[in-house]
């Protein structure tokens, strides 16, 4: 047993840390939030050059992976430096396409995976919540009426992927006041070269296999701002090119969801550490009532709790990595535990960061804001806290 990063993995993380620290990611996020993707695409290219995407892709398709530990290391750094873009979704698409390839549907993987590895294509993914997650998820994933029906509203029922911001159809977005159930937004569809969409038969339809499909979406609805300025959501347009169909899509989509949840957990851990580090630095500097606020016991204890949350989320993350690497049937529970713990720890760190910073932390101009909203958004992305906890009950004791 060696349950620790090896020297190579540690060095890889450090090099990404150094690279992004030097790259002024906050400016790239601010541009990204305005829909100016240039600086973000430059970061993307650097991540690709550093080999990040090849880690998620299997050898036969131009990758060197999948290597979950290394992917985790990279996503912790993405989170720490709030790198914008559909990074999680990219890893999920790689998992999806390569699993499809293993099932005999190799064409989409052969077309897209090498391009993504090389940083020549940016992709994103829309997918419905897991069908077995009760009526709430079920409602969202209700059958779209046989083979994938070409109405934007029906995208509810599917995973989807579409191409280019230029194709946006402003009239077809979701209603902002719509209620709960995971309408499958695609993250940063306007910045992607391809938006993959998976449709699901929800496991009910007798003739439902046809509804399990993977599509390349022909466009997307209007971009909706998130509490995280770096996240731009849009509902993919329905229809488009169907890349694959049948039970293999369903199985590959489940695999993709697992990887997405894992990468999200890693990103959240990095976000939490960035929030804590900045807050500790602030607490050591800021004076109120004639004293550095970091010497107040109430401040110290909140920061200590934030550290405890993060330090005990980390082993769950790498435990999930080990399970993913082994293809263990327990991987779903391990990933769920890691996501629940990392996202809770990141959100708790965000609340502490706000409380310790006071009003300055509450302003968009202050850099802290770039991490605060992300901590909130990642909680729900690719598995809610409740869904994760339900899955985590299956953990080995």
């Amino acid at each position: 047993m060696r349950f620790a990063l090896d020297d190579g993995q540690t060095a890889f993380g450090r090099s990404l840390d150094g690279m992004f620290a030097a790259a002024d990611t906050p400016s790239a996020v601010r541009a990204w939030a305005r829909g100016e993707h240039g600086p973000g695409r430059a970061l993307w290219r650097r991540a690709a050059d550093a080999g990040v995407f090849t880690l998620a892709a299997p050898g036969g398709l131009g990758g060197v992976g999948p290597l979950p530990v290394e992917v985790g290391v990279a996503f912790v750094e993405f989170g720490r430096h709030c790198v914008p873009g559909p990074l999680v979704e990219t890893v999920a698409v790689m998992a999806l396409l390569s699993r499809l390839a293993e099932a005999g549907e190799a064409a989409p993987a052969k077309e897209w995976v090498p391009k993504v590895c090389a940083g020549r294509a940016r992709v994103t993914l829309a997918a419905p919540a897991r069908a077995e997650h009760g009526p709430r998820a079920g409602r969202a994933a209700a059958p779209a009426g046989g083979p994938y029906a070409p109405a934007a509203d029906a995208v509810d029922a599917v995973f989807v992927a579409t191409a280019g911001a230029e194709d946006a159809e402003p009239g077809r977005g979701p209603v902002l006041r719509s209620i709960g159930p995971a309408r499958p937004y695609a993250l940063d569809a306007d910045a992607a070269d391809a938006v993959f969409v998976v449709t699901s038969s929800d496991g009910e339809a007798a003739d439902g296999d046809a509804a399990d499909g993977l599509w390349l979406a022909p466009g997307h609805g209007p971009v909706l701002p998130s509490v995280d300025p770096a996240r731009r959501l849009a509902v993919p347009a329905a229809g488009g090119e169907r890349l694959a169909a049948g039970p293999a899509v369903r199985e590959a989509a489940a695999h993709a969801r697992l990887w997405a949840a894992y990468a999200t957990a890693a990103q959240a851990l990095g976000v939490g550490h960035a929030l804590l580090d900045r807050t500790v630095a602030h607490a050591r500097r800021r004076v109120q009532f004639g004293t550095v606020i970091g010497s107040f016991q109430a401040v110290k204890h909140r920061l200590a709790d934030a550290l405890i949350g993060l330090e005990f989320a980390r082993p769950l993350l790498y435990g999930a990595a080990v399970a993913l690497a082994a293809g263990s049937p327990g991987a779903r529970a391990e990933v769920a535990a890691a996501k629940a713990a990392a996202c809770d720890a990141a959100y708790a760190a965000a609340r502490t960061a706000l409380q310790v910073h006071g009003a300055i932390g509450y302003t968009s101009a202050y850099e802290l804001s770039l991490w605060l909203g992300k901590a909130r958004a990642l909680r729900q992305a690719w598995g809610s806290p409740e869904d994760c906890r339900r899955d985590a009950l299956e953990l080995p004791h």
Partner: protein
């Protein structure tokens, strides 16, 4: 011990409810952080005034209707239950007006309150400074004596609504030689368009210009716009601070209405076979009810509640507000992160609750020292 309204109070509730049903805009106004939205909200304040609902607790002479404390709570319940617009006059009505009623001159009340009630003059607060957030005694902005008044200079920040407001109230150091740092402050009123005033919008987490920074460079304020005695501003301001933490600014009706909407959301959005979030929904309902009944208890006692009670109240409502909105976002799932939706906007607003009007850390120190009699320690 009862919760019965008098016939007059019952009639008051019915009148408020009927008026609101008729007048509350059917479609939401534009957000008050835009010029257009601010104008729409100002017009709404005028509409409220015309119905004599803009400042119900004030004496009729200033545009109020002399409502009792119970009636004021009832009005807030009806207002929030009706889903009526945000009150851009709130800082003036809930913070400055009580101060003027307690410490102002009759001339000041007659001159300042009616235009406030009509929405003609919208007020912003100007307390904090970059180096004096929770620690107001560290204020550095100055008031220098001039002929017939004072010249204000310095830098105020976290001034809510100051981007579009007309005037502001704040504290300035007028007697720098005073023996203790919170002595020698003066409570002054100033126009936000006066020569020497620069207002710079400050974006909230979502970028909306909810606050502003205010730079003052020898801004002249005549003596008539000083509230209370010069140099006594701390004492004057503290009467406002109690209002800011207590039920006046964050009326129970606000939370009972939000809790009701949360239950609706839970019933429509949650998986009926998965009650994992139910306890959190119920906690919001229970706590909103507790806050409402607590306020009824306060107004059942003669006289204003003890100052330190406002600290209990402030911690309670700020944590309730945040927990309630966090629960809503969790219920909304993937839609919870859409920042322009009502619940997310409410969450952003609630996030600031534990910080402003004295951090909850300070409030807990106050509770421990003044209500429980524990020894004074270092403030934090």
């Amino acid at each position: 011990m009862d919760l019965d309204l008098t016939p007059e109070e019952t009639a008051f509730r019915a009148e408020a409810r009927a008026w609101l049903a008729e007048h509350v805009p059917a479609t939401p106004l534009a957000p008050p952080e835009t010029a257009r939205g601010f104008a729409e909200h100002r017009a709404w304040e005028r509409t409220l005034y015309e119905g004599r609902w803009s400042a119900v607790s004030w004496p009729c002479a200033y545009g109020g209707r002399g409502a009792s404390p119970v009636e004021s709570l009832v009005f807030e319940e009806e207002y929030h239950a009706a889903g009526a617009p945000v009150r851009i006059s709130q800082n003036g009505i809930a913070l400055l007006a009580p101060t003027l009623l307690a410490h102002g001159t009759e001339e000041q009340r007659a001159r300042i309150l009616p235009p406030m009630a009509r929405g003609e003059t919208v007020w912003a607060q100007a307390w904090s400074e970059p180096e004096a957030g929770s620690d107001l005694a560290a204020l550095r902005s100055v008031a220098v004596r001039a002929d017939g008044g004072w010249l204000l200079s310095g830098n105020k920040t976290w001034s809510s609504r100051a981007v579009f407001a007309d005037r502001a109230f704040g504290l300035f150091r007028s007697h720098p030689g005073a023996d203790r740092p919170h002595r020698g402050l003066t409570y002054a009123l100033f126009p936000l368009d006066a020569p020497g005033v620069t207002v710079r919008p400050v974006g909230r987490l979502d970028g909306k210009p909810v606050f502003a920074e205010i730079f003052l460079d020898e801004v002249f304020v005549p003596d008539e716009d000083v509230v209370g005695e010069p140099g006594q501003g701390w004492r004057v301001a503290m009467s406002t601070a109690g209002s800011e933490r207590g039920t006046a600014l964050r009326a129970p009706g606000r939370f009972t209405a939000a809790a009701g909407r949360l239950v609706e959301l839970w019933r429509s959005a949650a998986d009926p076979g998965d009650t994992a979030l139910r306890d959190r929904v119920a906690d919001a309902v229970i706590r909103a009810r507790a806050y409402r009944l607590y306020a009824y208890g306060q107004v059942s006692r003669p006289g204003p509640p003890p100052e330190a009670e406002a600290s209990l109240t402030k911690v309670f409502w700020s944590e309730l507000d945040l927990a309630l909105h966090e629960t809503a976002l969790d219920l909304l799932g993937a839609d919870g992160e859409l920042v322009d939706a009502d619940w997310a906007q409410g969450w952003l607003f609630a996030l600031a609750g534990p910080v402003y009007a004295g951090t909850n850390e300070i409030q807990r120190d106050v509770i421990a020292e003044r209500l429980l009699g524990l020894p004074k320690g270092r403030r934090g």
